[in-house]
């Protein structure tokens, strides 16, 4: 059996459509079977509410008198992109104000406007014959603008990698605060309620489809940026009228130590046309798998520590290497549910009819990494290969002499087999002399937790290690932990002399 969209819309119009949320669907399919569920259910509503950095809005402010062709535009001191027509601008959610004493950004301005607040518009121009004015400052409400069109280039990820941190220090990331030594796991996404998890083949979610966007009726524009449906990471570009949005579904946020983002509520109604749709909307948290990624690796390709389901993540703790690690969600399941429930009410009350995609999204696309034409400088390009080192059983006196003669402040300490076991500095030697005359050997005073780098490591990452640990040199080791060089803060200066600008 199949069901046509016309039939479903006719039922929506006469108020007889059976609408359920994606959370209710698995149990219905269990009870009635796929054919039974197809007969019973007309529409499944989905929802998600989480941090969606790739969001923002186009504004048209109307013309002032005398008129101005705005070249730079600020809303509450947050710069908006004005490289479009005279009084149009796009304000991105993550753009931060540079004149506020607290972290304040585009997201806060968007929320303020939706909440009915006043926002200060400031703009400058060089002045033209047709637009003579050079600057303007005025206070605006959302209702004062001709258009406030939210256009979010990338929302509603199909699923998202969970995050943990194997390093010894707390990390501040876009996945929130990650405690050291796998102290916690953070994740995002609504699992069973997630719009794209309920249509992973993009059969009914595509361009032109009506959606719930932050409390307003919106629309799917098409595939979102970085859409990578082939790997299970599809995204949507969505739009909606900000004037109809509600603050409870549009909330500014600050990821500590990272920056501004915005929480957006998105829901998509799915017409139940055939048993294929029944099956895909019966997806449970248990069926949606994701990787727990180590954000301690500061590279694009980070290692996976575990494969888990959203059921595991939502249980409150998961297993990583035999230890239970507590989980935190960054998105709100409660609000995701509210989105799906409100959307259900809209459809039940005939406020929203459904549409099939006017253009389908590619279900097998894969996002590419960046093509880099300039070579990223590596540690090997600037490290000092003339390493002066010392054996761990030598006397401190010998170390002192070597430091003096070598005119260096750092001595990597080697074991009998030549591998790196520690490091000592001129400070360590001086301290040993002053505090305790009984200490004799290098191994008594060396630092054993050596912060080190490898020849392949990008210089930016090595520089961050120096900065974060407040040290001035890193031993460079090969795969067998033998010292092949040393990278000092002075070596970093070699980069500034060349063409590379920072």
């Amino acid at each position: 059996m199949e069901k046509s969209l016309d039939l479903i819309n006719a039922r929506i119009r006469d108020g007889s459509a059976r609408v359920v949320t994606a959370e209710e669907m698995p149990a219905i399919v269990d009870a009635l079977g796929e054919e039974g569920a197809l007969e019973e259910v007309d529409v499944v509503t989905t929802g998600t509410f989480g941090a969606m950095c790739s969001s923002g809005a186009f504004f048209n402010f109307g013309h002032a008198d005398p008129p101005i062709r705005m070249e730079r535009v600020w809303l509450n001191d947050v710069e908006a992109y004005a490289g479009i027509a005279a009084v149009d601008a796009y304000l991105g959610a993550t753009q931060e104000a540079d004149t506020q004493d607290r972290v304040y950004g585009g997201a806060h301005v968007l929320e303020e406007l939706v909440a009915g607040g006043t926002v200060e518009l400031r703009a400058t121009s060089h002045g033209t014959d047709c637009y003579p004015r050079r600057s303007i400052t005025t206070d605006l409400l959302l209702e004062d603008m001709n258009q406030a069109i939210m256009l979010n280039p990338r929302n509603s990820y199909q699923r998202y990698n969970a995050a943990t941190n194997t390093t010894d220090r707390t990390l501040s990331t876009y996945m929130g605060t990650l405690l050291p030594r796998c102290g916690n796991v953070s994740y995002s996404g609504a699992g069973t309620l997630s719009p794209l998890a309920n249509d992973p083949n993009f059969r009914v979610i595509g361009s032109g489809v009506p959606i719930f966007l932050a409390g307003a009726e919106g629309m799917v524009v098409g595939e979102g940026t970085q859409h990578s449906s082939g790997g299970g990471f599809g995204t949507l570009m969505v739009t909606g009228d900000m004037k109809r949005m509600r603050q409870e579904f549009l909330r500014a946020a600050v990821m500590p130590g990272y920056g501004v983002t915005i929480y957006v509520g998105v829901g998509v109604p799915i017409p139940v046309l055939d048993t294929g749709i029944v099956r895909s909307t019966a997806v449970r948290d248990e069926d949606i798998l994701t990787d727990v990624i180590d954000y301690g690796t500061p590279r694009r390709d980070r290692p996976s520590m575990a494969k888990v389901s959203y059921a595991d993540l939502r249980s409150g703790s998961i297993d990583i290497g035999g230890e239970a690690v507590r989980t935190s969600s960054l998105s709100s399941y409660r609000r995701a549910r509210e989105v799906a429930r409100e959307l259900k009410t809209w459809v039940e009350q005939g406020k929203m009819e459904l549409t099939l995609p006017v253009r389908r999204l590619d279900p097998a696309k894969r996002a590419k990494p960046m093509r880099e034409t300039a070579i990223t400088p590596r540690v090997r390009d600037i490290m000092n290969r003339q390493v002066i080192s010392i054996a761990e059983d030598e006397e401190i006196r010998a170390a002192a002499k070597r430091l003096l003669r070598g005119e260096t402040n750092h001595l990597p300490v080697l074991a009998g087999d030549g591998t790196l076991v520690g490091i000592i500095t001129t400070y360590d030697v001086s301290k040993a002399v002053v505090t305790d005359g009984r200490l004799r050997q290098v191994k008594d005073i060396m630092t054993r937790q050596v912060i080190k780098t490898t020849p392949d490591e990008p210089v930016d990452i090595a520089a961050r290690k120096l900065e974060q640990n407040n040290i001035s040199a890193l031993p460079v080791v090969d795969a067998t932990n033998r010292v092949v060089g040393i990278l000092s803060a002075i070596d970093l200066g070699k980069l500034f002399g060349g063409r590379r600008r920072r």
Binding site: A253, V254, P256, S329
Partner: protein
């Protein structure tokens, strides 16, 4: 009941130079649980947990020794208008103060809080703060 004790350690005769907690335990026999202590060269701040019934006595003894005592009633406070029930705080808290109820609403067990402040920094919505 949780009491936040603050004292100076500048002078040789300041309370911070003496074993105040040990003396309370020894003299009153009340068991004191030290939940957090932050002591440097000039001042100290200690959070203790004691049975409610003994609070008055402990407080009096401490104040006699020159220690400033503040009763911590609410510990961390949740601003429900700002909270979106995401749960970012849940795994950050070392004391398991936060959890979800059946409706995925954030629940705060304030009595467990030791005022470490980790959740306040971690909350993306600035919904958590300390009292006072």
């Amino acid at each position: 009941m949780k009491l936040l004790l603050t004292y100076s350690r500048r002078g040789q005769s300041d309370p911070g130079r003496k074993p105040v907690i040990a003396r309370i335990v020894k003299e009153t026999g009340i068991l004191v649980n030290v939940e957090k202590a932050n002591i440097d060269s000039t001042a100290g701040e200690v959070l203790i947990d004691i049975p409610d019934a003994d609070a008055d006595l402990v407080r009096r003894c401490l104040e006699e020794m020159g220690v400033a005592v503040r009763v911590m009633e609410d510990a961390v406070t949740l601003d429900e208008a700002e909270c979106v029930d995401c749960g970012a705080c849940i795994s950050i808290c070392p004391q398991e103060v936060f959890s979800f109820d059946d409706e995925w609403r954030l629940r705060v067990s304030a009595a467990r809080c030791v005022l470490c402040g980790k959740c306040i920094r971690a909350c993306p919505h600035s919904a958590l703060s300390l009292q006072g």
